[in-house]
Symmetry: C2
């Protein structure tokens, strides 16, 4: 019972207010993220107006053919699995079924359908963004702890692929931080890495803390380091989504992910400490999480939207042992 703000299962449950805040922030952000999608649609429309006089003219527009596929309902993901011949057939069917019946309005029909597909794409992008924002929230809290405890640290910038000293840190760099390393008062080394593929489980783990440092976080030497289970201090799952309807769904996923880590480290006779941090926690799953916490299957847990729990967990992450 390490986290003193998690005394009961119900402490973990997200409040309605937290959920509301999440959806509110989401809506505002989505409006902003829409802009490039709209710009693309408008540019696409202009090309269609200039270069086509009738639906079947789009078949000749090589430059915007992939946009036409999107209009026909093919996502970028689906596109990969279809052959050129499949795509051509879809497009022919699309022209015949939906564009030609629209008569003069075929460009409007095409653009409207393009926007439908774009909306789904935007939704996908937003989901990734929510995940990144959760990472960033955790990063800010961890760095705050390091600063408060006056522990100097280095952070790894994912673009320059270099470690920077804590004195260079500013809050606008948070999105680019892939890893953080520091040294405990006791002399122990710590290195936190996000979204690392852990060879022991052959899966990506949201949050990994190693008990050793490395200059690179790619390459052969690093690969060797992370292949040794005794170099791991802790692993964790972080779920930043706020939707209550997704809460149990994603906890089930996290639960299997954590089980895989536990089982695979156990093969090396290691009881690896695990944590779960989630923003959407409902009553029923809170009981399962708390039960795992009580029995030690997970070592710590927190609701990402409960300040005290998060701060306490970060303090512990930074200082443990």
């Amino acid at each position: 019972m390490i986290n003193k703000y998690v005394k009961n299962a119900s402490d973990l449950v997200s409040t309605h207010e937290a959920t509301r805040n999440g959806f509110l922030e989401y809506a505002l952000r989505k409006s902003k993220e829409s802009v490039p999608y709209l710009d693309k649609a408008k540019a696409f429309k202009l090309i269609l107006e200039q270069k086509t006089k009738q639906p079947k003219d789009i078949l000749k527009l090589d430059e915007v053919l992939s946009s036409c596929y999107e209009a026909a309902g093919v996502s970028v993901k689906a596109n990969k699995y279809l052959t050129d011949s499949d795509l051509k057939d879809i497009l022919l069917e699309f022209i015949k079924e939906f564009l030609e019946p629209s008569g003069e309005q075929y460009i409007e029909e095409l653009i409207y359908r393009y926007l439908l597909t774009s909306g789904d794409a935007l939704g996908g992008r937003m989901r990734n963004l929510v995940g990144s924002i959760a990472n960033e929230k955790l990063t800010r809290n961890i760095i705050s702890q390091l600063q408060v405890l006056n522990i100097s640290f280095e952070y790894y910038d994912k673009f320059s692929k270099t470690w920077l000293a804590s004195k260079n840190y500013t809050i606008d760099q948070v999105p680019d931080i892939r890893a953080i390393k520091w040294i405990l008062k006791s002399g122990g080394k710590r290195q936190l890495i996000y979204n690392l593929t852990v060879p022991i489980v052959k899966k990506n783990i949201d949050l990994v803390i190693l008990n050793c440092h490395s200059e690179e976080i790619t390459g052969k030497a690093f690969k060797e380091m992370i292949s040794n289970p005794s170099n791991y201090e802790l692993l964790g799952e972080l779920k930043g989504g706020v939707d209550p309807a997704g809460a149990d769904e994603h906890w089930k996923t996290a639960n299997t992910a954590l089980s895989r880590v536990r089982d695979n480290f156990k093969k090396h006779d290691i009881d690896i400490p695990l944590v779960f941090i989630g923003a959407a926690i409902e009553i029923s799953m809170s009981k399962e999480i708390f039960s795992q916490y009580t029995t030690g299957q997970i070592t710590n847990c927190a609701n990402l939207t409960v300040e005290n729990q998060l701060v306490n967990l970060c303090y512990w992450l930074v200082t443990q042992r």
Copy 2:
């Protein structure tokens, strides 16, 4: 090793061809499902043209206010968590940030943004549809088995909420079938129900087979019947999605769901038979599934896109014991 077409983990893996077929069917269906979303957008546009002269006029349009919220990026789901005041603020911000800067084009901007949100909604609808279609595929295969084996059955129509005799069955009723009941040659009763909330686990299970019949599948008597763990013959998870990228994600979910069933029946000293049926099975997860199959943690499994495996599993579902 009940399913004679599942001899190795690799037998479970989905082929590229199956994935392609899935995405192809998906794209064609999506084009058709788009129509009502486009119609709504066009109707919305007409109202805006008739009743507004400038962006802030939309605030007075009570009839289409919820459509305006959607245009501002608020999904129906998000809407539920926001207060009227939140929504009003979002709309004001939306007008100021995105509609007013568009000048004369504010209606186009509004409709384009409405379509983006609609596209995400359509995506959600499509995901549900894929799930239903998988259910229907299973239903058709089960009924075919019953017919081939000359076992008379009754099927429960979810709208009329009544049981109909097998002689009334036609293939176009498949989408409305919630349950099927039949009697084994040995005299044993069987009743299959989809998406049943099982009191023993307090969760919905995709596929449930009981060893007893009931007149209703709601109400007190039925509730009592399904509260008795010894009335269960088998439970299963069915995953109809074809996307390889979602395969492991959804298997992790299914795995926790199956574990919950197993653990909760175990509390009543029952080793309940479990099955997993999935359309998107990748190599790594196929090994986990096959391993569970070998050790008896699951009793049967099949790839929904592999005809032999599915038929064999349905034969077994229909005739077991």
